[in-house]
């Protein structure tokens, strides 16, 4: 079992890579089917990995049998599986969405685009590369492999943004590319410093050898900078609204749902596995503070937007804040695991919800031909499913039960109160109300009835259904808290806390 079980680890990386290559060859006709097939394959393999991890604990797999430091090691613990699962679910949904998205002849601005088939082919290639890099990133057990997957991820993501041949898409894609390259380089610099200081790349080894010193401090700072840039932590989110809103909607969904989470995961992984909680309480406080600021600032800016997709982008700025709050909460104290798992849970539920919302937004934009919030009247009449999907996703952002956002918020608030940092709890809770405000910023005009709705545009039934299903599924994520939290316990850096903390 062990052999078969650990071999599963390769599948989520190799399978999309193979598909990407194949997709380049087969062309745009069959690429969607390949994509769907891959998606189901990945879902299956992730499920298998998940079950194995649940049963047997963490898995380590040496590619080709080479041991660290020379060989490439894959490592799956609860956190990695959790992220894989998130990626698989969102990825599968986006794949299904993309099939519908590219069969329609018109692009979002309503013009007939001659190259839409072309874009479809590129989309599948880029997306499969992206998926492979994401899975690789979650499973990598050494710092340099992480860099490689990070770069592949950044490049394919930037590619997805620039798929659209509009000036706005190109320029925001360009900007995104610079940012992501800069982030990767900062990360590589950090890794170089670490290697210089500790002489290892394997994460577990690095964690064991870690000592505070000039090199490790600098490495921490650089890696933090790189990941903060790539995740779009306030105030370094300057590239985000443009990139998210100008990309085509499936790409937006992937960027907002998954890519941001991957860089966050990387930071999380290094912070607690390697840097032992940020080498002291100070840096964590900075990130927590910025996270809290992001929650408020992002939400305020989201309310101020006039365009649907920009609103969603700023909402991501705000929601990312929730993730970073955990850095100031997760310490070795008894609430550490609560904070850590709360943040991770938030990543999961936000990924599903935000992807669903971008997908809904895409369907709406495609149907009405614009994403001007002030002209959304009658959309609710015309596209009830899309609006419902958006609303359900919005509920997750508000953090209401029974969405996953609620579990996350509960855990984070609980941790922040327990640690005595009640001001974080205030921000977290206020963020929920602010989220309601920006969700309503769309729903309010959209639900207003008009005598004659916007002229009927291409059928977007499939897009709406996909978005709705994802939103509806993620709506009940809180009900899965018990098994998912059990999964997260496997191999968590807070194992010691758990033994003491919970009965």
């Amino acid at each position: 079992m062990g052999l078969i079980g650990s071999n599963w680890l390769v599948v989520p990386i190799v399978l999309p890579l193979a598909t990407a290559t194949l997709a380049m060859l087969v062309g745009r006709r069959s690429a969607p089917y390949l994509g769907l097939l891959t998606a189901s394959g990945i879902l299956l393999s992730v499920a298998a990995i998940g079950l194995t991890v649940l049963e047997e604990g963490t898995i380590r797999y040496q590619l080709g049998g080479w041991e660290a430091p020379l060989g490439i090691n894959l490592y799956a613990d609860g956190l990695a599986v959790f992220m894989l699962l998130m990626t698989a679910i969102v990825g599968a949904a986006v794949s299904a969405y993309a099939v519908g998205y590219f069969t329609s002849r018109q692009d979002e601005s309503g013009r007939v685009a001659g190259d839409s088939g072309d874009r479809s082919g590129s989309f599948w290639v880029l997306w499969m590369f992206l998926w492979a890099s994401l899975n690789g990133l979650f499973l990598s057990a050494d710092a340099f492999n992480l860099y490689v997957t990070l770069e592949i991820m950044g490049l394919s993501a930037a590619g997805l943004v620039t798929l659209e041949r509009r000036q706005s898409a190109l320029s925001s894609g360009m900007r995104y590319l610079f940012v992501t390259l800069l982030g990767s380089l900062a990360y590589l610099m950090g890794v170089a410093l670490l290697y210089g200081a500790l002489g290892a790349l394997d994460l577990a080894t690095l964690g064991e050898l870690m000592y505070p010193g000039a090199a490790t401090w600098s490495a921490l700072a650089l890696i933090t900078l790189g990941m903060a840039l790539k995740t779009g932590l306030f105030p370094l989110h300057f590239w985000m609204p443009a990139a998210y809103s100008n990309a085509i909607s499936p790409a937006s969904a992937l960027l907002a749902g998954l890519v941001g989470k991957a860089s966050f995961y990387l930071l999380l992984r290094l912070w607690f596995d390697v840097f032992d909680g940020g080498l002291g309480p100070g840096p964590g406080q900075v990130l927590g503070l910025l996270g809290a600021a992001a929650i408020v600032w992002g939400a305020v800016m989201a309310v101020r937007q006039r365009r649907l997709k920009r609103l969603l982008a700023y909402s991501s700025v705000s929601q990312i804040g929730y993730l970073f709050v955990l850095f100031s909460l997760a310490t070795t104290a008894s609430w550490g695991f609560d904070a850590w798992s709360g943040g991770v849970y938030h990543a999961f539920s936000h990924a599903c919800a935000k992807a669903a919302m971008f997908m809904s937004a895409g369907a709406i934009v495609r149907s009405v031909g614009h994403d001007d919030l002030d002209r959304m009247q009658g959309v609710g009449q015309q596209m009830p499913l899309a609006v419902a999907g958006f609303a359900l996703g919005g509920v997750t952002l508000m953090g209401l039960p029974p969405t996953g956002g609620f579990t996350a918020k509960w855990l984070l608030v609980s941790a922040s109160l327990e640690s005595g940092q009640w001001w974080i709890a205030v921000v977290l809770l206020a963020g929920g109300v602010l989220a309601a405000l920006y969700v309503l910023r769309f729903l309010n005009p959209a639900l207003i009835q008009v005598k004659v709705g916007p002229v009927a545009r291409p059928a977007t039934q499939n897009l709406e259904v996909t978005a709705f299903v994802l939103a509806f599924g993620s709506f009940f994520l809180a009900l899965l808290s018990a098994p998912l939290l059990a999964l997260l316990r496997i191999g968590t850096p807070f194992a010691s806390v758990l033994l003491v903390g919970t009965p």
């Binding site: 930037a158 620039t162 360009m174 590319l177 390259l181 610099m189 170089a192 443009a242």
Partner: protein, 108 residues
Amino acid sequence: MSPVTFYLLSSVGIFVVCLYGLIVHAHLIRKILALNMMGSAVFLLLTGVARRGELTDPVPHAMVLTGIVVAVSATAFALAVARRLYEECGRAYLPEEDPEDLSEEREG
């Protein structure tokens, strides 16, 4: 000053200077160049690190090699995008603001 320290310092110097360049130069090619140079700075550091012990450490070399591959492909991609941007809007600069952000004009 040991050679390692020298490499380290010069690498950091190059990294910072190029970072400055990336930020202040508007022209896309300059930005791409700056990024490339930053990459080189990191490679410099890695090669320096490899010389730290008695024996030359092969791992950083492998990393540099991989890094160069990545840098090459990233540069190629960046150049392609820059070229397409130039074709689409006739300039090789990034607008400081998202053009669709605050524009009053609306599609319709």
